[in-house]
Amino acid sequence: MNRIQAKLQEDKKLLSIYFTAGYPNLNDTVTTIENLEKNGVDMIEIGLPFSDPLADGPTIQASSTQALHNGMTSTVLFDQLKDIRKSVSIPLILMGYFNPMLQYGVEAFCKKCQEVGIDGLIIPDLPVEVYHEEYKAIFERYGLLNVFLITPQTSETRIRYMDSISDGFIYMVSSASTTGSQSGFGNTQTDYFKRIADLKLTNPQVIGFGISDHETFSQATQYAKGAIIGSAFINYVTAHGVDDLGAFTEPLLNG
């Protein structure tokens, strides 16, 4: 069983953290992952920076620009991660845009992911139909789960289609937005969370976009298996670096 699938079976709400690889400093990647695990994080999304991240807001774009400036590339990242499985056992998901993956070669990229111990991929600009027709077989060959995003505008038919070809979790984007652009959840969002929960999908849901503190984390996980924090974490490491991540995760988990 894939590490993500095993984690999803645990009887707890999952805290997942997104960070940009190579940020704030090029060699912070491994330290960030290790410290997040030590501080009780359940799952990590490692962001492979891209020059033109369409689905991201200013915080993640700025961190991506800095990471690229620091020298981060697909090759550098895989090299940094080559021994990660000696020290880290929680699920690791690579999140990146399609073009860098395409240039690396989709199959070579997937193979490399398997070698270093990546469990899944989130590629926001790889549409589900293209994945299904062209890449699903390759992902599966290398034991990688592909995570699909849904939004409040995604139709039920489409959600069920994604659910049918997914073996991990569904990433629920909390509202029509880019990353980092929300604060707090209103009724519209909780209604949407409820609506999706009531669909009783095969894949559990994890909510992302707009989760920044204990309150939003608790709200989201009332309706979903877990929640993902990105921009708020980037803001934290921008200010405090990656050595003491407990100061970020402790208030988040315990209020």
């Binding site: 240039q103 690396y104 029509a176």
Partner: protein, 393 residues
Amino acid sequence: MSYHVNEKGYYGQFGGAFIPEMLYPNVEELRQKYLKVMAEPDFKKEFDQLLKDYVGRPTPLYFATRLSAKYNTKIYLKREDLCHTGAHKINNTIGQILMAKKLKKKRIIAETGAGQHGVATATVCALAGLECIVYMGEIDIARQAPNVARMKMLGAEVRPALSGSRTLKDATNEAIRDWINNPVDTHYIIGSAVGPHPYPDMVARFQSVVSEETKWQLKEVEGRENPDYVVACVGGGSNAAGAYYHYLNEPDVKLIAVEAAGKGIYTGESAATSVLGKEGVIHGSKTLLMQTTDGQITEPYSISAGLDYPGVGPMHAHLYETKRAEFISVTDDEAMTAGLELSQLEGIIPAIETSHALAIFEDKKFKPEDVVVISLSGRGDKDLNTYIDYFKL
């Protein structure tokens, strides 16, 4: 072989809709409706009427006597520079604003580089009474002040793109983000033949009036609809898409696409995508684009802001790949010289984008009986400062 888009939104291996799920409903709505809406009689009637009475179509197909004499061939200029707002861009924005109204959208967003598409969008928003927000790179805002003023005067809000390189590609990113954040009431008017399907095809269809007119105009003067060559400059590719459209499947018509070589193709300051680009995904489309080996999109350079785009529309990538069109690169210097030459031989000051298309005659030779149609895509008013600086006028 077909050079038009297929059912799945591809031109050969290029095109598609590589968009985040957040954009899916917007793009899908457009995909399902655009052909149907464009075929509605009242839509066609209003579009044609506005092109005639508001834009000033048909634009002349002008036989350039002195230019033809100089290069010893028959050169016709398709005068898109005479369109309202000074370039072909308005053909597309008129079409898209009518589309937006049909889709009951209340708010229009657009990206712009030099400001021509921004002005064309602000213009049609004023015409339709719709809210207009134009994203423009912070650097472009500084260097294109007159067009920024025009957009403001037309009632548009110009929002600076502060991310990345703060130019056209970043303005496009910001417009896409706006659309993600406003999925229900907003229509995004893309200005070039780029972006996710159906945009490249929709833009090409709205621009296709250019070659539609060329056909009957040429028939009147030359007794034949088909020229030997159609020449157009290519940044994203909207004017070329329009100039080629009705000739794509006419094998006797040779197509020439002129790209900006900037300071020279291999100087690191160039926008010659067909030479320097590799297949990849930019702004929702699989096409040729300039990028690092790691797949990061690089910043192009051209003296002409309208050709300063790191990708090229998927239709053109396909025309390049299949060799249906010949791609030629022209440097800043060659383009500026050709712009000055047209001004003094024909009394027409062209946009610097267009000057690139005019520059091919120095190297490429034509037969005296060849009929060469050049898409004179825009006028040079907006570029006066660049011409002044370059020629020390």
